[in-house]
């Protein structure tokens, strides 16, 4: 072991060299107050601008401000960057930055043996140690022998570094996350300028002092690491190969908000966004309330029922109603969603799933609302369900949901989750011109208008706008006669209308492109994934396929209707397995639909799969 102190590497003086790596996972962890989210996103920006592929995931505490120094108060940011295509924030950690004892205690188990461990000594005082029940100081009792410990006096050095800029006390201390950033920049050989520019852009006007101080802190950290040869070796991760185009870094919730705005501007109809705040979906409301000029009317309702009911009303009023929540809120919306099913109005329901049941673990992810999306309404109530695979895909999926809702006059459920919503990745910016257009305006000739006449291709009814002369119509949640929409209690009519509502949703299958299976096109094992498990499932399948196994992977974007070719594809494999972050809901749905055996690998730990565990799983199913 080689302990590092401010005086440099004890009893060791060899020069440091630079090593090439394919990928690296860093985790920045500290107290909520330590600004680790900023450090993480700065490093992310620097990496994407440099040209690495990246995948990130923040891990906030549940409390707004949990008590300082406690485990509950730890805020972390995981960053996976590489010279090749990656899809997950990384299984294990190569470098752990722990600003205090709590951060160390919480994340050390995920640090690879031999991994680098950068800590701020100031975070390991008697108090901090006591709060997390460390009997002795791990920095000194040798318990960290398996790791490359780099203990730095970050706090005092930061304070010293920013004094010239004119910062002192708490404010000076606050810059320690930038000092740390400097250290890590040195370790991974990152250019500093882009970050400096960024900081200047953001603060220079309002708070020039802060700007200067932050820059000074970064520089100080960098220089320190350099001058005293903090690391024997530093590392470099080359550019990744992306297909050409313009990129940005994007989180799922932001992409979702932009997808809704895109629907408003491409459809030419406004969007009414009725929502009630809830973790982890609130950011979508926040983003959209800034995008009013795109024709998005945001309405923060008094509760979830008003949020969805107003959206349904808006759709009757002639603009696209969208509502957004997470599990508990979606449950509350179920009765009103059913009104949209019965009246056949367009509606997009965004569910950023979280861990449950009930309040559950609001800040943790889960994809366990699939069956509620399919069946969580009274009586026979079919609804199309779509789920994005990655943060960036949230954009096109929610846009597609909106397009389908209008074309088929139906509510569409969009299933994102906390992992996708808060996670981020580089995103190739789509060309707005290339987005599919919206399809409505059918059946509105007053002479022949019938509120419940159906478009033969889609099975959808027409979408009249109140205020139009001659299209006056009254709709109701009561069963209605075909075509006329008059209230009807007729036995046979009810059965025909029920079938028509199912047929309409079934017709959406014609919008689903042929499925393309990765890997073996037939053989021993088919891996089916949906939503946020895409990245881990595909990467693991790749790994196993490259070992020469007869394994294929197919990701499902539409959960209802299922791809028309899915039934045949499944038949081509000896076994089918579905890894999902729930107790086996898609597996159940596939068995229920096809009446064949489907294996389920369901884990509910409030976190995403690691590639490693899936590789193990697939191999175990292949013996």
């Amino acid at each position: 072991m080689s302990t590092v102190t401010d005086e440099g590497i004890l009893g060791n003086t060899e020069k440091h060299d630079i090593q090439e790596l394919d990928e690296v996972t860093i985790l920045f962890a500290g107290d909520s107050g330590d600004g680790m989210q900023v450090t993480g996103s700065q490093f992310t920006d620097a990496s994407v601008v440099f040209g690495n592929d990246i995948s990130t995931f923040p891990d906030f505490p549940a409390e707004i401000r949990a008590p300082q120094g406690t485990l509950a108060g730890v805020s972390a940011y995981q960053l996976h960057f590489s010279n090749h295509d990656i899809r997950t924030p990384g299984d294990r950690i190569d470098t752990l930055v722990a600003m205090n004892a709590a951060a160390l205690k919480k994340y050390l188990p995920e640090l690879d043996k031999g991994g680098i461990l950068i800590v701020d000594k100031a975070g390991f005082g008697p108090n901090e140690l006591k709060k997390v029940e460390y009997k002795s100081n791990p920095l000194e009792d040798g318990t960290l022998g398996d790791y490359r410990l780099v203990a730095v006096d970050i706090t005092p050095q930061t304070i010293a570094a920013v004094r010239p800029a004119g910062l002192t006390g708490r404010n000076a201390e606050r810059c320690k996350n930038f000092y740390t950033l400097g250290v890590v920049y040195y370790l991974y050989d990152r250019p500093l300028e882009p970050t400096f520019d960024e900081i200047r852009k953001r603060f220079a006007k309002k708070e020039p002092v802060i700007a200067e101080a932050n820059i000074a802190a970064i520089q100080a950290g960098y220089n320190f690491a350099h001058t005293i040869e903090l690391f024997k070796v530093t590392y470099r991760v080359k550019r990744a190969i992306f297909d050409p185009g313009m990129y940005r870094n994007i989180s799922g919730n932001l992409a979702t908000a932009m997808g809704v705005a895109a629907a408003a501007s491409k459809s030419g109809r406004k969007v009414f966004f009725g929502s009630y705040p809830i973790t982890p979906a609130s950011d979508i409301l926040h983003e959209l309330s800034r995008l009013k000029h795109f024709g998005v009317l945001t309405f923060q309702a008094e509760d979830e029922i008003a949020a969805v009911a107003s959206a349904v009303g808006a759709s009757y009023g002639g603009v696209l109603g969208v509502t957004c929540s997470s599990g508990p809120g979606i449950a509350l919306k179920s009765e009103a969603i059913n009104l949209a099913v019965m009246t056949e109005l367009p509606l997009v329901v965004i569910n950023v799933q979280r861990s449950g049941p009930s309040t559950g673990m609001p800040t943790k992810t889960e994809q366990a609302d699939l069956l509620m999306a399919l069946f969580g309404r009274n009586s026979d109530s079919p609804i199309p369900v779509i789920a994005p695979a990655t943060p960036g895909e949230c954009f096109e999926c929610v846009y597609e949901a909106a397009r389908i809702a209008v074309k088929y006059m139906t509510p569409v459920m969009f299933l994102s989750d906390g992992y996708l919503g808060n996670g981020a990745e580089p995103w190739k910016i789509p060309d707005p011109e290339k987005l599919k257009g919206f399809d409505f305006g059918w059946g509105l000739d007053p002479a022949s208008f019938k509120p419940y006449a159906r478009n033969p291709e889609t099975g959808a009814r027409a979408w009249p706008i109140p205020g139009t002369p001659g299209l006056n119509n009254r709709i109701t949640g009561i069963e209605k006669e075909e075509n006329t929409g008059k209230i009807s209690y007729d036995h046979e009519n009810h059965e025909r209308m029920t079938k028509a509502r199912y047929q309409k949703v079934a017709n959406i299958a014609q919008e689903i492109p042929a499925s393309s299976v990765y890997g073996a096109q037939e053989g021993d094992l088919l891996v089916l994934s949906w939503g946020g498990t895409y990245g881990a499932a595909l990467t693991a399948a790749e790994t196993v396929f490259k070992m020469g196994k007869k394994i294929g992977h197919l990701h499902l974007r539409w959960l209802n209707p299922l791809p028309p070719d899915l039934g045949d594809i499944i038949k081509r494999y000896k076994k089918v397995v579905v890894p999902e972050i729930n107790t086996g809901q898609l597996a159940y749905h596939l068995r229920g639909t096809f009446g064949i055996p489907v294996e389920s690998y369901g884990r509910v730990r409030g976190k995403a799969f690691t590639v490693g565990e899936l590789v193990t799983l697939f191999n175990s199913l292949l013996v």
Partner: protein, 339 residues
């Protein structure tokens, strides 16, 4: 639910506002008169049926929109006001009327009621108050009287009833009135006033349910006695009542008392605009038999309507951010190019 083929741009007769659907309330139900009064008033106003949207929840009363030739949404129980919020926001030019019952509006729908009013959503809200759940065959509602015996309270209701008017005032309603299903002229007059009001216009209609709560208002709104048991509010006029208009209401501490009409200086002159809302609240407190029950407009004040402010923000956002540019939005603050 069917379209009226003929939707004359300027409708002239109440008939033009009838959807043609057979009206299915019990014979003798107060709802018939209310429907007639609304159709009468709309016919006078000259707007065409397609310029109106009627929204309701579920209940006997909530069937109302199905009988109108306008646009209409018979939605789900308790959500009429929430649904109407979207209709108006989507389509601000539509004149939106909301039809609701004492259960629909004040029981399951109570939350939407408070919030629609404080936002001053631009709806004409007609509350059909029959002090009972009609459609479900006679359980007590939030306005049912204390001790009332009914299907779900065989030993009598132990819930203190709520005053729709007081609740509306507390929620910040800008127009609050009361009328009765047995007084065509007064209903028409009140609906006219509501139609002219910008923002939430709330009207409690005393409505008789002949089947499950017959004659519940008879004691004071009965044609024979009402001159003595009701009092009509007219802005700017002294509040007088009685067979020979011989009585008046005068402020007495924190309440009203009945005085001789001759005591002109004492009789309260009604001010719909009274800024604090105190007087409207005091009037709302008057109940039978202690005092005459007020009918008419309790309060009428000005505030911007919700949809106006909503669209004003869209406009200012447009001004602030310039024409929406989707491409620019997607790019965001920081991009990089791979070639």
């Amino acid at each position: 639910m069917t379209t009226t083929a003929t939707d004359s741009p300027k409708a002239q007769t109440p008939q033009d506002f009838h959807s043609g659907l057979i009206v299915r309330w019990c014979p003798g139900c107060g709802d018939y008169a209310i429907l007639a009064a609304v159709q009468k008033v709309l016919a006078e106003r000259g707007k065409a049926p397609h310029e109106y949207t009627f929204v309701s929840g579920i209940g006997c009363s909530s069937r109302f929109p199905l009988y109108m030739s306008t646009y209409g949404f018979h939605s789900i129980h308790g959500r009429a006001l929430a649904v109407a919020t979207g209709v108006k926001a989507a389509n601000p030019k539509q004149e939106v009327w909301v039809i609701t019952g004492d259960g629909d509006c004040l029981s399951i729908g109570g939350n939407h009621f408070i919030h629609a009013l404080r936002r001053n959503q631009d709806f004409k809200i007609l509350l059909f108050n029959n002090e009972i759940y009609g459609l479900t065959k006679g359980q007590y509602s939030p306005t049912s009287r204390f001790g009332m015996v009914n299907k779900s309270a065989p030993y009598g209701t132990i819930d203190e009833p709520v005053s729709p008017i007081k609740l509306a005032l507390a929620a910040g309603a800008t127009f609050v009135a009361r009328t009765a299903d047995n007084d065509m002229a007064h209903m028409a007059e009140t609906f006219r006033r509501a139609a002219e009001h910008k923002g939430s216009a709330f009207i409690e209609i005393l409505q008789n349910c002949v089947i499950f709560n017959d004659k519940v208002f008879e004691e004071y709104y009965g044609v024979k006695t009402r001159k003595d048991t009701l009092v009509y509010l007219h802005h700017g006029q002294p509040v007088l009542y009685g067979k020979t208009v011989e009585k008046g209401l005068a402020v007495d501490g924190f309440n009203f008392k009945s005085v001789d009409a001759s005591q002109k200086d004492q009789v309260y002159v009604h001010d719909e605009h009274e800024p604090t809302g105190t007087v409207a609240n005091m009037l709302a407190g008057l109940s039978h038999p202690e005092s005459p029950v007020p009918l008419g407009v309790f309060r009428c004040v000005e505030r911007p309507a919700y949809h106006e402010m909503m669209y004003a923000q869209v406009e200012s956002a447009r001004k602030a951010n310039g024409e929406p540019d989707l491409g620019k939005l997607l790019k965001g603050p920081k991009t990089w190019t791979v070639s």
